[in-house]
Amino acid sequence: RVSAMAAARGTGTYRPRWAPVEKGKDDKPGKSDPSGRLDGRKQFEMRSAFMKVGAVSRATGSAYVETNNVKVVCGVYGPTSNERTSYSDKGQLSCSFEFSPFAREKRRSRDDEQLERAISLMVEEALTASIQLDKFPKAVVKVWVVVLEGKSGYLGAAVTCASLALADAGIEMYDMVSSISVGIRKEDLLMDPTEAERGSSDFGGSLLLAYMPSLQQITYISQKGTIDSKVAQDMVKLCSEGCSKLHSLMRKCLVEAERKRQAKLAREHSRSNSS
């Protein structure tokens, strides 16, 4: 039973909790704690993450990423024939981002569609540079990202999750893409800010980075708020360090899943040989 549970678990340092978050710990905005952050993290400490591939059995590839209070699932379908666009020697990536109705405090409404469309384009932009589009001419790869829960940090998780799903699908890529954001409160940089931190009165802004860690290239960058350019450069550096840390978790997740697949294939092969 223990091994079955371990098998069901993905990888990462964080085990999903099913118990509700304790009230008062993460929720109170505006409380500036000089000794550290509300949720007990250090300044440059990321939220630990749980990653698993193959979560959606019907999809060509899929992944699930969970950190504290953020749960994102992604399914990748394709490459399929795409008769609607004009001829192209390169393939196309089509991303769709969606909140589930229960993802945030307020139920998802029609007003959120505009935001979802904007985020879809952002995820597409972050991922397109990493895909070898010339490997599937005329065809389209569809990426569907659904946020099951998330008030803050779901953008980074969405890109990371989608990249894992694409790798799980076997789409040829140049590199994985991981994504994290860094906030600034007064003069302190905060790695992976929570919703409470973002809502506090002295929060100055944030920077979101999508990064290809092996090729050391940025695929997407977006910044909110008024930030000094020197500080922004530091934030980019901090983000890329965070992305590299996420990358090692992604690698562990993919390698474990591939080993399980190889073991399963070897068992089936030996079974068919002996019968």
């Binding site: 394709g78 005329k138 076997g170 789409i171 092996s214 090729l215 390698v255 591939e258």
Partner: protein, 203 residues
């Protein structure tokens, strides 16, 4: 026997030491992995060069992007036939079942190698036939262009009007085994199977 598993973006070696095989790409003389898979080293088949390099490839049993490519021999099911073209759905590429079907088109000039001006498409294919064809080009966005202009290409399975699988009797005729009615088709010439071990036709 712990096989090394690579993920996209992993450095696999340098072009001066190795050859880049499937599942990899090269950038600035370095070989990187393109997919998640097991790293395999194979000897590159090179008779002339004594100093043949080892080839790095990332092997992934079920890869996603399997598309028909120019020169592939594919197996397709005929969907629609009119005077200008025959529309098919490509199911297999070689002996590999594709995960998705892709649309293909056979034009009158590509049905056979001779007398191409007088080809009647409806005498060559019927909806529901299974045909073997060669991909001659990527075509346009809507379909791949296919050709059956070789002896071994054409209809490999055709149903008669009475609903039975027909037997080929010549390059352009098939016969229903029950009603004995003959129907025109562009028939694929499949090499016969010998009794001692199957002599499969090479594609």
């Amino acid at each position: 026997m712990a096989a090394e598993i690579a993920i996209p973006g992993d450095r696999m070696g340098e072009l001066k030491d190795y050859e880049a095989g499937p599942g990899t790409y090269t950038l600035n003389g370095i070989i990187f992995a393109s997919v998640v898979g097991v790293k395999k080293m194979t000897k590159a088949k090179n008779e002339n060069n004594k100093k043949s390099k080892q080839r790095v490839e990332i092997f992934r049993k079920q890869s996603a992007s399997e598309l028909p490519e120019r020169g592939d021999i594919i197996t397709a099911k005929v969907a629609k036939v009119n005077s200008r073209l025959a529309k098919v759905n490509i199911l297999f590429s070689g002996e590999r079942l594709l995960k998705e079907t892709f649309p293909g088109t056979i034009r009158p000039r590509d049905v056979r190698a001779f007398d191409i001006d007088n080809v009647q498409l409806y005498q060559s294919f019927r909806p529901g036939d299974v045909v073997r064809a060669e991909v001659i080009s990527r075509g346009d966005q809507k379909s791949y262009y296919l050709s059956t202009a070789r002896d071994e290409l054409g209809v490999i399975l055709g149903m008669s009007a009475a609903g039975h699988a027909m037997v080929p009797i010549s390059w352009n005729q098939m016969q229903c085994p029950v009603t004995k009615a003959k129907e025109p088709r562009k028939v694929a010439k499949i090499k016969s199977v010998t009794s001692n071990g199957a002599k499969k036709q090479k594609h």
